[in-house]
């Protein structure tokens, strides 16, 4: 049972890494990045190429940096230039980017499933409550907790975090106060996509790589973001843990309904409270 709960936390942690990126971007740009799953997937493939050549940790670093760069480009070229348009136009463009990125990966790496190696340092198992548990899964939990803690501290205790919280509440008023929201957004969107790259690499050894690997997890992280309340960091954290547990326990105890449970939960919550658990700022 303890092992099952831990497995749920592993998936929840991955979902959190993706969902919090969506929340960060939504906070500043009021846009949901449909290409987030594709960036997750691209990050995973970039990391895989280096990991297959024996440079696992370098792959992690390169993937995170590359996705941060992609995010900055995305912010400048798409989000900034379209900020006066209807947000749904921007969403459509990120959907177009999703199709383009999937094709790029299919053409470059092929459609075949690839398996991502586990780094030597994290290979093996430990015994938890009498059962073996892969060290690598513990690593995923640690990474997501570190990101969650770091992000919370950054938002809570730094000046920039204060600006981000302000801009997420009301970007217009924040810019009137003399804060360059566009520059802030560059950092925040870059951070959000970098986290997509990070989760792509970290998830790699757990999942199999395929050009459509981002789609499932993207939909799950949408569910997390909606349940947590669009734009809420703490909401995303708890919703991710909840969906992680439901995903995992459901697969064991209610296999016929497992894939439906998150959807039903989302629909139920939206009917009960259209703004999600934590309430929405928009």
């Amino acid at each position: 049972m303890a092992i099952q709960l831990l497995n749920g936390i592993v998936y929840g942690g991955l979902l959190y890494l993706l969902a919090v990126g969506l929340v960060l971007i939504f906070g500043l740009r009021e846009v949901v990045n449909f290409a987030h799953g594709a960036l997750f997937m691209l990050g995973s493939y970039i990391g895989f190429t280096l990991a297959a050549a024996g440079h696992w940790w370098l792959g992690l670093l390169v993937s995170v940096v590359a996705m941060a760069a992609v995010g900055c480009l995305l912010d400048v070229l798409v989000f900034r230039s379209l900020r006066k348009h209807d947000h749904i136009v921007t969403v459509l463009i990120t959907f177009g980017l999703l199709l383009i990125l999937e094709t790029v990966v299919t053409v470059t790496w092929g459609k075949a499933y690839l398996s991502y190696p586990v780094p030597k340092l994290l290979d093996g198992t430990v015994t938890i409550a009498g059962s073996p548990f892969p060290i690598y899964r513990l690593f995923i939990i640690v990474v997501s907790l570190l990101v969650a803690g770091g992000l919370a501290a950054w938002l809570r205790y730094t000046r920039m975090g204060l600006y981000v919280r302000a801009a997420s509440t009301n970007a217009h008023v924040t810019s009137i106060q003399g804060i360059d929201v566009d520059r802030l957004s560059l950092v925040v969107v870059g951070l959000g996509t970098a986290l997509a790259g990070l989760s792509g690499v970290v998830a790699g050894p757990l999942l199999t790589l395929s050009p459509t690997m981002g789609n499932y997890i993207l939909i799950d992280s949408f569910i997390v973001v909606v349940i947590g309340g669009l734009g809420s960091f703490a909401g995303a954290f708890f919703a991710a843990l909840l969906i992680g547990q439901i995903h995992n326990l459901g697969a064991i105890y209610l296999p016929w309904a497992a894939t439906m449970l998150p959807f039903l939960l989302m629909i139920g919550i939206l009917i009960w409270r259209p703004t999600g658990f934590a309430g929405s700022r928009t």
């Binding site: 949901v32 348009h85 969403v91 959907f95 383009i100 569910i223 439906m260």
Partner: protein, 334 residues
């Protein structure tokens, strides 16, 4: 919902004259459709055209939601699949007469969409896009996992009963017949939508789209009209799904998949979702483009994505919007 759904308000010129013009156009289009199989001899061409018309119906259903409710759906394939599956499963199991199965396949998605619409209409913008995507995928998951229903992932072939509504049903799998049937349905559907948009219910739905609070203030009910729009739009998608399932004699979970919803949405936006004709024209353009891009089939999704990005950036009103603007400019100069 400014950029996508805000069309020009139709001029209040004599409604009777307008309806007459619409009817004349529809009649001309119907005659053209009946003549098409006699003009085009290639069965392949007719078969491709049939598929393009199914796409056009689905794109029209997505576009209608944008036009009337100002809501962008990423899950319209749910109703397409539901229509196809309801018919396929009922017919394959011989649970009811084919005629009754057709009615069920149309009524079920319409009813489901009406009920969902009561909830969805309250949720706007980006959250709506995410919600519809998730609900659509939920349907896909059911069709994918529930092997006893229709063989899950493999999809299920089924045989049509010999006669439907008194006609030989094998005709429905002949492209030169199906193309006329589908075209006729598409033309009638577009005519019906145009009439609906000008009707009282359509005008109320448009008012709710533009400002729900004000519509409520002046005494209109603001939940039922948008839900009716959802139902109509789902009915169109279900018709498309039903036609495709009948034509192919085959159903598969891909009929529910979000990539289908997404491509229908892209066709609608590229064609011009703020016009009733736009989505269908978008679907036809994509059909022609796909024919040209045949050699680059591997890159097709990227081509679609690039077209979407370029169109939304350069001509947010879509192809029809561009044509309309060009037409007005020409008239002004003349």
């Amino acid at each position: 919902m400014t950029a996508l759904s805000q069309g020009d308000v139709p001029a209040a010129s004599s409604p009777l004259l307008k309806t007459r013009g619409l009817l004349a156009m529809a009649l001309a289009a119907l005659l053209l459709g009946v003549a098409a199989p006699r003009l085009v001899s290639s069965q392949l061409m007719l078969s491709l055209a049939t598929q393009a018309i199914f796409d056009a119906l689905l794109a029209t259903s997505v576009g209608f939601l944008v036009l009337q409710n100002g809501r962008v759906s990423f899950g319209q394939a749910a109703f397409f699949g539901l229509g196809g599956y309801a018919f396929g499963v009922l017919v394959a199991r011989g649970l009811m007469a084919a005629e009754l199965a057709v009615l069920t396949a149309l009524a079920l998605p319409t009813l489901v969409a009406f009920l969902l619409g009561l909830v969805f209409a309250r949720i706007a913008g980006v959250a709506h896009a995410m919600l519809t995507l998730a609900v659509g995928q939920a349907f896909y998951e059911i069709a994918f996992r529930w092997r006893e229903l229709a063989k899950g992932d493999d999809g299920m072939a089924f045989n049509l009963p010999p006669r439907i509504f008194g006609f030989d049903s094998s005709l429905l799998q002949d492209p030169s017949v199906m193309v006329v049937v589908a075209w006729t349905i598409l033309v009638l559907a577009l005519l019906g939508l145009a009439l609906f948009a000008n009707s009282r219910m359509g005008q109320i739905a448009a008012a709710v789209r533009d400002n729900a609070e004000r519509a409520r203030f002046i005494g209109h009910d603001t939940t039922i009209p948008p839900a009716i729009v959802y139902a109509i739009s789902a009915l169109l998608a279900a018709i498309a799904g039903l036609l495709q399932a009948t034509y192919n004699g085959y159903i598969a979970p891909q009929m529910f998949h979000w990539s289908l919803s997404g491509s229908a949405l892209i066709m609608a936006v590229v064609g011009g979702a703020q016009f009733i004709l736009g989505p269908a024209i978008g679907a036809v353009c994509f059909f022609i483009l796909k024919d040209f891009a045949g050699r680059f089939a591997e890159y097709w999704p990227a081509i679609v994505g690039s077209v979407l990005v370029i169109v939304t950036l350069v001509m947010p009103q879509g192809i029809v919007g561009l044509l309309k603007a060009g037409w007005f400019r020409m008239r002004r100069q003349a």
